[in-house]
Symmetry: D2
Subunit: 229 residues, 4 copies
């Protein structure tokens, strides 16, 4: 029997790599989608059954074509993790319309278009998982998140609209609210006891895909024990 | 002494006209910005000191140029009411990337760019009001608001980022959460006891501009007495 | 014609006095309910038509009997402002069950029982206002508000349950979210530019009672221009 | 080595029994606290290492004494699950002060006092779990939850205050938001596809106790795939 497919949009040496390793270990074929494949093809080489795809998540046509290739290579997607994100740290006075738009394209539009590539087959199968990697910024804006916070807020409410529409059809849509800084792989272990460990974020994402249908979570916050909130 | 200027983006015979009439009555010169000036120039003719401007709120260049003209004609803006909005009633499966983007351009991007046109003079003056006309959809998504709700959520969180940045400089940024259907001017009075009356929404907007600096509101919900919520 | 009656529960030289003066100016007969009448009877003497009542808001029997007296003296209550509040600044480890209960009795139970004294006549009249003076603590707990925040959260959600039940009957239930420190009457004017002025809070409360039925607010936050939030 | 101890307050044949069975299976000694021990002592008999305790959660003295007995019998508590709850389905007009108080005593005060019995040893150990079984009512009130919703809102915000205080000391405080009806053990399997299965709720509770310290969740919603929300 062929492996179920997990597609991860947004691959870097932090969260993206941890999602890939976790779902690989759990027996998934893993599609790694990211703007450049420099890192992701190296990562794919370390995994049992993974493949890297170049995909600019901010460009709908690129997303459509990357997912087409994933389906041809690996089959229909069972689990989508939308991890692409970016944000300028600017106030309303500093941010340009271009920067504002780019943040929205990556965090919000890309999440919509990626989801649209996997929903039809999930409906057909009557099951599937779509997980957006969100942030506390989705719940509140502060002066320097004039671009980032609105994009994440839109992403979260999009997930909620999707969840209410797709859950009854067996598709588990959820959003993770990452609250805190994330440990970098280049950071000595001793430096980050107050930061989120990407492998632990991946555990939480995988957990969501294992919940029984009678008790699904939509929104799960994760933050370090030592976080101020 | 010249009148203070109120710029209203999004003018139709409902809310837009009511905002215009209220601020006209309160002694403001009123700039009416809307895609077409068919209705707004007629409305301008009924008011003491108003002028209609063609402005596609979804197009940053058009917004910049319309506000330049407003300043030339009427002077710097004291109060901005961002009333432009639109939304398709579609689920994640039905909405196209183009429709999703257009909703965001009108509800969110236009609100940013319009605000950026008035902030510098407000900072200079140490005072001013920026009011976004929001919606309950900003707080929750439902199946058929896959496009509208994310755009309104982004608008609301943008307002929050702006408020935290601009309040200390004397600029009162606020968002009104309209919760309910709005009476149409073509509706017989007897038909809409369960709907919001645009003149009453305008009262609430004007009230916000009169609050003393020690007790400003950021977020004000308005809904009909008979609304189910 | 007799004056409408405003009953204010919780009277001190800050918010309570400002509510009393505002509604007095607006032509209400004002009932001042507070544990001790030392201050409130002095305040009553300054107003056109006011009367002080001893009432321990944490004691349901005392609340019932005080409101009975108010009705006998002044008539049925048109507007209730529930301003009684108190809170210990303690963590879960420090607070006793007694302190926890007292905070709930004053902030929550007293609000319920006071409301129950005025609802029947308001229903009869098909109009009335019930305003709870709430706090940001109702929306989030922090380490040292183990007692205060839960009591305020309960008060706010009680108001929401009441609003959904009573609005369709013409009774405007609302909650004010006070976010920030409040100026004391003993504080020199120059000291508090970053604090809420009680007279300005009273303006906002009175505004709520003037909203037309097509556009009622349930929840209004007020904070100083200079507040960090 | 002795087993870790899980204390569950509120034991019936639904959630309470499922929590007990799950933590029993996971190798805990389980203390079952409930008003009557009729059912809980029978349940204890089915488990490897469990004991039933009579405890009226609404009575602080009874809670203190029951936990004293638990510690004597089984040792310090590692994981507390506060599952006691009750609620009248009444509007503000119907609920009595007594009913309102009882709901608060069971849902809120009992949660505080139970927590206070286990916190000192958890601090000493630098670890532990406290999980409150909450409800959607904690987030919004509706007409008929004038008693239940405020009590659950207070419970949730108490948990938040506790979490911010205790997480840095190694104690994982969390709240589960149960959103939906719960299957009864007497209901035929075919009847409840739109209801929460208690065993699945217990899975989610146990999952919370396994999260690594870099990525703890505070608030987890669980609802059936078919729930309307």
């Amino acid at each position: 029997m062929s492996k179920p497919v997990c597609a991860i949009v947004g691959i870097g040496p932090g969260n993206g790599a941890s999602f890939a390793r976790k779902f690989d270990q759990e027996g998934y074929a893993v599609a790694l989608l990211s703007r450049s494949t420099d890192y992701s093809s190296e990562l794919a080489g370390e995994l049992a059954n993974a493949k890297a795809y170049a995909c600019d998540a901010s460009d709908p046509a690129a997303v459509v074509s990357a997912f087409d290739q994933v389906k041809t290579d690996l089959g229909e997607v069972d689990t989508l993790i939308y991890n692409a994100g970016s944000g300028s740290w600017k106030s309303v006075e500093e941010i340009t319309a271009q920067e504002f738009e780019l943040g929205w394209r990556i965090n919000t539009l890309g999440a919509l278009v990626s989801s649209q590539q996997v929903i039809p087959a999930m409906k057909q199968a009557g099951k599937g998982n779509i997980i957006f990697v969100g942030a506390t910024a989705s719940l509140r804006g502060v002066p320097m998140t004039a671009g980032f916070a609105p994009a994440k807020a839109a992403q979260r409410i999009l997930a909620q609209s999707m969840a209410k529409h797709l859950w009854p059809q067996g598709i588990h849509v959820a959003v993770m609210i990452i609250d805190g800084g994330i440990r970098s792989p280049h950071m000595p272990q001793s430096d980050g006891p107050d930061k989120l460990e990407p492998d632990d974020i991946a555990l939480a994402a995988h957990y969501l895909t294992t919940q029984p249908q009678s008790a699904w979570s939509f929104e799960v916050d994760v933050r370090p024990m030592l976080e101020k909130w």
